[in-house]
């Protein structure tokens, strides 16, 4: 595959005091690719995603967005962030705004769309996540799964080059998890570039181009989904997947 690399982390280190959370991580995501990161709690998955989403800088290493080193070239972080969609574990919707207003905010303020354009875009995105009839609902009136789908729509409304999703179903029950997974699968089929931290192996198996296993701040291995699930190369990945798949 020779498509353009959208986002790359090169030798990423993150150190808090004496704690090395990430230790020289290398990762890249090409246009149209869906990459899944799995790994135990505290392995550095979320930190890696926040660094790639430019929400915090690495202690060392480079974040390269579409061929440009974000930090050393002193690029406008807010502008690039708007091209990297981010969906958090918690839906993180703005609670004083309706679903529609949540989605409109970025296109209006950051992309400079008119009220009318932003509204049209927001309604398109709500349709994409099957929530068009909930446009005027406040977050408090939506279920966790619906809130997470609005958060996905909000990120997509910016027309990002890549979508980063940090365990978007971690706090949802099984039924609500599937609402979100279905939307993510649709996005993957539409060719939206995604980097997803998730433990939803069926989702990874269905749509991921590659699964990477991270542990102790290091990406231990990356492989095609079936290969990774059936035949992990490192002992840690083997134990982790066995536990995850309920084989232990």
């Amino acid at each position: 595959m020779s498509s353009e690399t959208i986002l790359e982390g090169q030798d990423i280190w993150k150190i808090y005091g004496s704690l090395e959370v990430l230790r020289g991580v290398n990762i890249s995501i090409r246009r149209g690719q869906t990459k899944v990161i799995i790994g135990p709690s505290g392995s550095g998955k979320s930190t890696l995603l926040r660094i790639l989403g430019l929400l915090e800088p690495p202690t060392r290493g480079r974040v390269v967005f579409k061929g440009r080193d974000v930090y050393s070239e002193g690029l406008d972080l807010a502008k690039i962030r708007s091209k990297i969609g981010f969906v958090f574990q918690q839906p993180s919707l703005f609670r004083h705004l309706t679903a529609l207003e949540n989605i409109k905010l970025g296109p209006k303020l950051v992309l400079g769309m008119s009220e009318k354009e932003a509204e049209r875009r927001a309604r398109e995105m709500l349709k994409l996540v099957h929530l068009e009839e909930f446009a005027d609902y406040y977050p408090a009136q939506l279920s966790g799964g619906q809130q997470q789908r609005v958060a996905i729509a909000r990120a997509l409304a910016m027309n990002p080059d890549i979508l980063l999703l940090d365990e978007p179903t971690a706090n949802l029950d099984i039924e609500l998890t599937w609402e979100v997974i279905e939307v993510m699968e649709e996005l993957a089929r539409k060719g939206i570039t995604m980097l997803v931290v998730t433990h939803e192996i069926p989702f990874a198996r269905e749509v991921a181009d590659e699964i990477c296993f991270i542990s102790d701040g290091v990406i231990q291995e990356c492989n095609e989904p079936e290969e990774m699930i059936r035949n992990p190369q490192t002992p840690r990945a083997r134990i982790f997947l066995k536990r995850l798949l309920g084989e232990v």
Partner: protein
């Protein structure tokens, strides 16, 4: 004098009481937001100065500042020769300290993940404050602001010591002129309740209703 005529006489002071309370609230509101931001986001020396300001105004009775402004600063600053403005500024500066506490707590109550989400969308810091933080912080702050207005209306009574013709002063004039020791003060007390209770109650209820609506 009858109770009704006493009441009408005391009502002459209502303009001063209300205007002192609301002007000082306005000063305190602007100062409170500014101080809250300084204490939360400014570099450490400025934040420490902000904290020191709050400690000073919360630790000293407001009457002391009113006397200091009027009789002390009034000798050098023409504005403070006015008992009215000395009262407004002393109460306003003290209210700034209180309101900064209210706004600081309200801003801190906005979940951090919302700020991260706003940043992830590419919003600048000022856009995040204006469109995400402040609208929600105001809702959270409403009950506290209601209590603060009530406090200012009550504390505006100290202005009578400087000679301002407010509700308390008119009640005291009745006491001195007609040797009525109970009725004027009871009427004044009732007027203060009529002024403070509805506004504090309204803002408290509005805040609770909006907090519930938005699950803040």
């Amino acid at each position: 004098m009858s109770i009704v005529s006493d009441l009408f006489f005391i009502l002459n002071g209502i303009t001063a009481t209300i205007s002192i309370s609301f002007l000082s609230f306005g000063i305190g509101f602007l100062l409170g937001i500014l101080l809250a931001f300084i204490r939360l986001y400014a570099p450490k020396p400025a934040a420490l100065l902000g904290d020191a300001y709050v400690k000073l105004f919360l630790g000293v009775p407001v009457l002391v500042f009113m006397l200091l402004f009027h009789f002390g600063f009034g000798q050098f600053i023409p504005l403070f020769k006015s008992a009215y403005f000395s009262s407004v500024f002393a109460l306003g500066l003290r209210s700034g300290a209180y309101q900064s506490q209210i706004f600081k707590a309200a801003i801190n109550s906005i979940p951090r993940d919302q700020l991260l989400a706003a940043r992830a969308l590419g919003l600048t810091d000022s856009q995040i404050l204006r469109h995400v933080v402040l609208p929600q912080a105001f809702i959270v702050a409403l009950p506290g602001l209601g209590s603060e207005i009530a406090l200012l209306i009550k504390d505006s009574a100290y202005a009578f010591i400087l000679g301002v013709l407010d509700i308390t002063k008119y009640a005291d004039i009745l006491r001195a002129a007609y040797r009525e020791f109970v009725t004027p003060y009871v009427l004044a007390a009732m007027l203060y309740i009529v002024l403070t209770f509805p506004i504090a109650n309204y803002l408290d209820k509005l805040g609770s209703r909006l907090k519930k609506k938005y699950a803040l």
